[in-house]
């Protein structure tokens, strides 16, 4: 595929991705930190819905033999330390790499600093990849590179079967979650974007006046 067509496809897909992230408010820093504080379950609702949909889609495409999976190797040290840093970064940034871009689009100007810091962080890893990866290779403790292992390698049943089972479990979990924390209530309570009248619905002013 040419770079040009790849870019056009990427832009079109990204616009849909960005729309979804903004409309669900899952790119809101308050929603993201609210998830980590168990105050707002929007982030986990969006993620689990996307995962369940992905499981069903990939089960179908995989069963038809159209696609092969694209799994990342389980380098345990990298996954643990990288994941821990990712969580710290998400809290300080109020965003993950994708939602930082959605924040920029939505008008949050501080998200440009997340982008700049992110570029510096990506550069730092690329420049020091060898020493970092060497330090995180815990092979001597049995926690080296486990390879591109998935649950298909650990449980009976092929990918399509397991994917559909996990999708069903996720949907059941989401139904329970929605009963416990209805999304409309969470949106009413937490949505920082004031109504057209300029006032947040809850009375508590969710936003200071724009700092521009």
């Amino acid at each position: 595929m040419s770079v040009f067509s790849a870019v056009i496809i990427g832009l079109a897909m990204g616009v849909l991705f960005g729309l979804a992230l903004e409309k669900a408010r899952v790119m809101e820093p308050g929603f993201i930190i609210g998830q980590f504080q168990f105050r707002n379950f929007t982030m986990i609702k969006v993620m689990l819905s996307a995962i369940a949909t992905g499981l069903v889609v990939l089960a179908a495409l995989n069963a038809l033999g159209i696609v092969s999976l694209s799994v990342k190797a389980a380098m345990v040290g990298n996954m643990v330390v990288g994941g821990l840093l990712l969580g710290v970064g998400i809290v300080l940034a109020g965003a993950c790499p994708g939602t930082a871009l959605a924040q920029i689009g939505a008008g949050y100007r501080d998200a440009w600093a997340i982008l700049a810091g992110g570029l510096a962080g990506a550069f730092t890893y690329g420049y020091f990849q060898k020493p970092i990866d060497t330090a995180l290779d815990w092979s001597s403790a049995g926690l080296g590179n486990w390879g591109k292992v998935t649950l298909v390698d650990l449980l009976p049943g092929g990918f399509p079967t397991l994917a559909l089972i996990f999708a069903a479990l996720i949907v059941a979990g989401l139904v329970a979650l929605e009963r416990w924390r209805p999304w409309r209530e969470e949106m009413e309570r937490n949505d920082p974007v004031a109504d057209a009248g300029g006032k947040a619905r809850t009375g508590r002013s969710a936003y200071a006046a724009p700092a521009e």
């Binding site: 696609v67 501080d110 949505d191």
Partner: protein, 171 residues
């Protein structure tokens, strides 16, 4: 269109739409949704303008080589564009910074927030590149493929995120 001018969507509708994006990702680009490697592509290309030797580093070279790399750069640029169009059509444009930072971390000054945001972005992408994926690549795509790597990375991400956010005031 009313869907586009709606103020908000259900998280389930948003999640399903995002999950469906795996179809063009796998069928057209032969990859899964992801966001963080685009940062490598962009920073490698930018720094190479000043020092072409940077592309001699294998990690950087491998991120500017294929159409897939630029597909992901376009994807994250499209995310910004999509969010921009969304807030324009719904009238939900955000201020320079969220007021939440004042309540949660006591940050009311924009320059101070910029410093924290830069530091956060740095740790975010350092972690994402060490883990070879972020909330999208591991959280959405890896888990949708039942990958053990993604389960470890996401468990670690939620563990540190929950622990650190507990230090701050409640949202």
């Amino acid at each position: 269109m009313s869907i586009l001018s709606a103020r908000s969507w259900s998280p389930y509708a948003a999640g399903i739409l995002i999950g469906l994006l795996q179809i063009p990702a796998f069928l057209l680009i032969n990859t899964a949704l992801g966001a963080s490697s685009s940062f490598v592509t962009v920073v490698a290309s930018l720094t190479a303008v000043f020092d072409p030797a940077i592309l001699g580093i294998p990690y950087f070279k491998s991120h500017v080589a294929t159409a897939k790399d630029w597909w992901q750069v376009a994807l994250v640029a499209g995310v910004a564009l999509g969010a921009f169009l969304s807030v324009k059509m719904a009238g939900t444009a955000r201020p320079a910074m969220s007021e939440m930072w004042g309540r949660v971390m006591g940050i009311r000054s924009f320059p101070v927030r910029l410093l924290v945001a830069f530091a956060g972005g740095f740790v975010l992408l350092l972690g994402a590149r060490i883990a070879n994926g972020c909330t999208s690549g591991h959280g959405l795509s890896g888990l949708a493929q039942l990958a053990v790597s993604s389960m470890i990375a996401m468990a670690a991400m939620f563990a540190s995120g929950i622990a650190l956010s507990a230090v701050f005031k409640r949202v």
